[in-house]
């Protein structure tokens, strides 16, 4: 098989598929150990309360564990080096106070989950209910009962950044627009909820934790710190993980408690999160409030942007990064791919009595994109131009690359305007405009909208150090090993949960070693067998881990060539790897033969060459501020102005993520991300009532996108390899989820332009659409 059939650039079919297609995947809940007991948690029914006492019925004693029963457990503490950051301690089981509905109070152990839930129902907690903090905008400076009493206010952190002169932009502006935007709270909602199985291995003197996590290595770090154990005595395994999307890249109380229970009880303990718990106890996401003013000239050229950003971060900071990055990330992503000469942003991260906020595909970017892209469209409306004309007018041009935005993002390469053009072609913009003039036979209103963005990916040390992070995910690792028969194992510190890394990383090694990927195994997700790595998040896996695999493979390749040249009686420089062999000028020797020499017949080794074929490498791109993928998304919608219901008729993505190692997988990631973004745009929401009760406790209340509502998603590619990474790859895992809220809101605005309604809050529910239409009607009557 030639290299191009399986190396970099080939749409190799996945190694992961077969087991899943036969129901033989192994998720945490599928791991069976004799004597396992199930755990259910007693959780707070109140948003904010003092715990007066916890009472366990006599027959349940010994099966119910509160904080006092597990003294080895210490609070979770996030360290931030940002100025003014406040970091509350978080006891994994509540001690004196609960701060959100769903906070864990006690762990109940029984032979089955049903019985454990019976126990949990039998525990009674005496609460003194306190007034909850629900509105971050109103309560950030203080409230009757602050979330963390000794703070005085409810601010984790506030910060401002400023560049250029927004005041001058305001004075020069011919168009000034001010809008408020809102992106509601939602869940990451992987189809598999979280889960933990923990047991003690006496032979190895360690505690083993199977967990549905994106970050096994850093989970071990945290468990070591919090439980006071040496890391050599902790093994964390992420088996098959049924989706992560960010929320599973954080440490949770349940992981700590299960490890502690395994030590305490000395038997396997299992906790499998159910969907109700997931919607309460796994990180929520988004929940942004914005007020933004944009200044432009009469052509639509943006002169300045002034924004206030409030992120409702919930009750605690999730380890390792806490709540500190999201708002800052929004502030720096807000100018997007645009040339904006003057900028000011103030951002506030607020503690409320809600579930802690964590990362979810795109993190701050979907909100930033929503705000700036809605504003671009409104500028276009104000100056009477087609939105994409104004978009293109303001986009950074290819000849300006690399370009540092007003917020300090270094955009490395690409033709942003070309992606706008391509996306408009994919949706046939002129045809839609013509159809709009005719009107729809069913009287629905047709709209088309676009949104462009540049996405920071695979950022490392420089970026995270600038954010004040105490743990800096700056590299990934790979140990590449050729076994004595010539088969290859790649042991990587990254973790894969649907992205297809078992396939695509083997492609990278295949490219470097000239070996069929079918002869390569990828091992990941197990701290026992892999060198340290940070895990899968921040669109970093292919760039970072792919880079590490490339480097380790090259180290092996060099050694293979040295031994091969010796066997072939040629110079090392004359030898190269291809088709499973080391090839010299006068012949070739199979890698299997070399592997045999390196392991079993060391008499064949050249002088000065050690046995074994084993190389460990780490990788971080030369530029650790990130490389930038970019895309333009477009949506066509039909809005029923009588009911507010929206149908998504068409959707297209024109994107550039540099070199695609496996285009099939790239497109899979894009489509998956887009549908999650559509969920943000149209469906997903966890509202809270005034008392701090979350109102979406099941999937009947929390609507996730289904096949029936989704259009087929069109994709067009542009190809600008970045000079800063292996092969010119850019990260792209999150991008799909970034632009849908903006593109769809712009399309709905386009549809509702004739009735004068604007929509600036996601999800765009029928109720919100009707409210916007009514508001427009009232405004019309007034004028």
């Amino acid at each position: 098989m030639p290299n191009d059939a399986y190396g970099v650039g080939a749409s190799l079919l996945r190694k992961e598929d077969n087991r899943h297609l036969h129901g033989r995947g192994q998720f945490v809940a599928d791991v069976k150990l004799p004597g396992t007991v199930d755990v259910a948690f007693v959780r707070s029914p109140h948003a904010h309360a003092r715990i007066r006492s916890i009472s366990v019925p006599p027959e349940a004693r010994g099966h119910v564990f509160t904080a006092v029963d597990l003294p080895r457990v210490t609070p979770i503490r996030v360290v931030s080096h940002s100025t003014g950051a406040k970091s509350p301690p978080w006891p994994p089981l509540a001690t004196d106070k609960v701060r959100y509905v769903g906070e864990a109070i006690a762990a109940c152990v029984a032979p089955s989950r049903g019985e454990a839930e019976d126990l949990a129902a039998a525990v009674t907690v005496d609460f003194e209910v306190l007034e909850p903090v629900i509105d971050p905008v109103r309560d950030m400076r203080g409230s009757r009962h602050p979330v963390h009493e000794h703070w005085g206010d409810n601010l984790y952190i506030e910060h401002a950044l400023q560049a250029g002169d927004v005041g001058a932009a305001a004075r020069a502006a011919e168009v000034t627009l001010t809008r408020e935007f809102r992106m509601q709270r939602q869940s990451g909602a992987p189809l598999e909820c979280r889960g933990v199985l923990a047991y003690r291995d006496h032979r190895l003197d360690e505690v083993v934790l199977y967990a549905s996590t994106q970050t096994p290595h850093t989970l071990r770090v945290a468990l070591g710190e919090i439980l006071g154990l040496e890391e050599r005595r902790i093994r964390v395994v992420a088996p098959d993980v049924g989706g992560g999307f960010g929320p599973k890249a954080r440490l949770y109380p349940e992981e700590i408690i299960l490890a502690a229970l395994a030590l305490e009880l000395d038997r396997p303990v299992r906790w499998i999160e159910d969907r109700g718990e997931h919607l309460l106890a796994t990180a929520h996401t988004r929940d942004h409030h914005y007020k933004a003013t944009v200044y432009a000239d009469r052509q639509g050229r943006i002169l300045g942007l002034d924004a206030e950003i409030v992120v409702d971060a919930g009750a605690y900071g999730l380890w390792p990064q806490g709540p500190y990055h999201e708002a800052g990330m929004v502030a720096r992503a807000l100018p997007g791919p645009y040339m904006i000469p003057n900028y000011r942003a103030r951002h506030y991260t607020v503690a409320t009595n809600k579930t802690p906020l964590g990362p979810y595909r795109g993190v701050g970017r979907p909100g930033a994109c929503f705000v700036v892209e809605r504003l671009v469209d409104e500028i276009a409306r104000a100056v009477g131009r087609e939105p994409n004309e104004v978009r293109t007018l303001n986009l950074v041009r290819p000849e300006q690359m690399p370009f540092t935005t007003i917020s300090g993002m270094r955009l490395d390469s690409g033709d942003y305007g070309a992606s706008v053009k391509l996306c408009a072609e994919l949706l046939d913009l002129p045809a839609i405009r013509a159809r709009q003039l005719q009107g729809e036979p069913d009287r629905r209103l047709l709209g088309i909208g676009f949104a462009a963005f540049a996405e920071q990916t695979a950022h490392g040390a420089a970026e995270f150090a600038a954010r004040g992070a105490s743990i800096i995910p700056g590299f990934e690792s790979c140990t590449a090993r050729v076994l004595s028969d010539g088969s290859v194992v790649l042991m990587v510190g990254i973790q894969s949960h649907g992205q297809g890394l078992e396939t695509v990383l083997s492609q990278v090694a295949a490219e470097e070693l000239g070996i069929d990927p079918a002869c390569i195994s990828v091992r990941h997700g197990d701290t026992e067998s892999t060198a340290f790595g940070f895990g899968t998040f921040a669109s970093r896996s292919m760039v970072m881990s792919g880079g590490a695999v490339a480097r380790a493979s090259r180290m092996l390749r060099d050694k293979l060539c040295r031994i091969g040249a010796h066997l072939l009686q040629c110079e090392v420089a004359q030898a190269h790897c291809a088709d499973g062999m080391v090839v010299g000028p006068r012949g070739a020797v199979p890698i299997a033969e070399i592997a045999k020499v390196a392991h079993l017949r060391m008499d064949g080794l050249p002088q000065g060459v050690d046995p074994l074929l084993d190389a460990t490498a780490t990788y971080e791109p030369a530029i650790s501020t990130g490389v930038f993928s970019y895309a333009t998304h477009g949506a066509v919608v039909a809005v029923d102005a009588d009911t507010g219901f929206i149908e998504l008729l068409d959707y297209a993505v024109a994107e550039d993520c540099g070199t695609m190692v496996n285009p099939m997988l790239v497109e899979g990631q894009i489509r998956g991300g887009v549908v999650q973004g559509i969920g943000t745009a149209l469906f997903e929401e966890i509202p809270y009532d005034e008392g701090g009760q979350p109102l979406a406790g099941t999937l009947a209340d929390y609507l996730m996108p289904g096949a029936a509502e989704m259009p087929a998603i069109k994709i067009g590619h542009l190809h600008t390899p970045t000079p800063h990474t292996e092969y010119g790859m850019k990260g792209m895992g999150e991008g799909g989820a970034v632009a849908p809220p903006a593109a769809i809101a712009n399309a709905v605005r386009d549809a509702l332009f004739s009735v004068g309604a604007e929509v600036n809050e996601t999800p765009l529910t029928p109720r919100r659409i009707m409210a916007a239409i009514r508001k427009a009607g009232e405004a019309h009557v007034r004028t």
């Binding site: 899943h20 995947g25 019985e115 129902a121 993980v241 489509r671 999937l699 989704m710 998603i713």
Partner: protein, 181 residues
């Protein structure tokens, strides 16, 4: 503490101590299976915990996500919403079954070729649902397939490739059937 022997559930203390095990006989993936189950045990937990058939997944346990879909008496059913005891004298088929089933085989092939799965959690139930659509001749168009998948959530793929894979399997099988005639 055991299911039959009573436990410490508050409201349920008395009830659960009185609970009897129910004897069931099920034809499971073609084999006769007998067991004594607590009545509260769902079919999903029976399959997963007692038969080690872990290809049936739980995503919500209230009937919305579809990940636990199996065949009961030949028809797709939510195994989270069926009690194991209510399956007495019924036939149950899970993803571990279907030996030699031409529709499942075709779907496995096209799902692989079209990258119709990522994390794999929804996949077994997606295959079982797709098989039912094909057999009921509800896989004739993308629209029909999408409507037929409304009760199976996939959080990873965005559905496009799943729809393509099912359409292709349906086409293949139609061609195969036409050639056989």
């Amino acid at each position: 503490m055991s299911e039959a022997g009573g436990n410490a559930g508050a409201a349920h203390n008395q009830a659960s101590s009185a609970v009897r095990l129910t004897a069931i006989r099920i034809r499971l993936n073609g084999s006769a299976v007998a067991d004594d189950v607590p009545p509260r045990l769902s079919l999903a937990d029976f399959l997963r915990e007692r038969r080690n058939l872990t290809g049936t997944h739980l995503g919500c346990e209230h009937g919305v996500c579809g990940a636990c879909t199996v065949l009961v008496d030949g028809e797709p059913a939510r195994s989270c919403l069926m009690l194991a005891c209510a399956c007495d004298e019924r036939e149950v088929e899970t993803i571990e079954g279907f030996a030699g089933d031409p529709v499942i085989d075709a779907l496995r092939r096209t799902f692989h070729q079209h990258h119709a799965l990522q994390c794999g959690y929804c996949t077994p139930a997606m295959l079982i649902t797709a098989r039912d659509l094909i057999l009921r001749q509800r896989a004739g168009s993308a629209r029909e397939i999408r409507d037929g998948l409304a009760g199976n959530i996939c959080r990873c793929t965005g559905y496009t490739n799943i729809v393509t894979a099912i359409a292709e399997a349906a086409r293949e099988l139609r061609r195969g059937a036409a050639n056989a005639q």
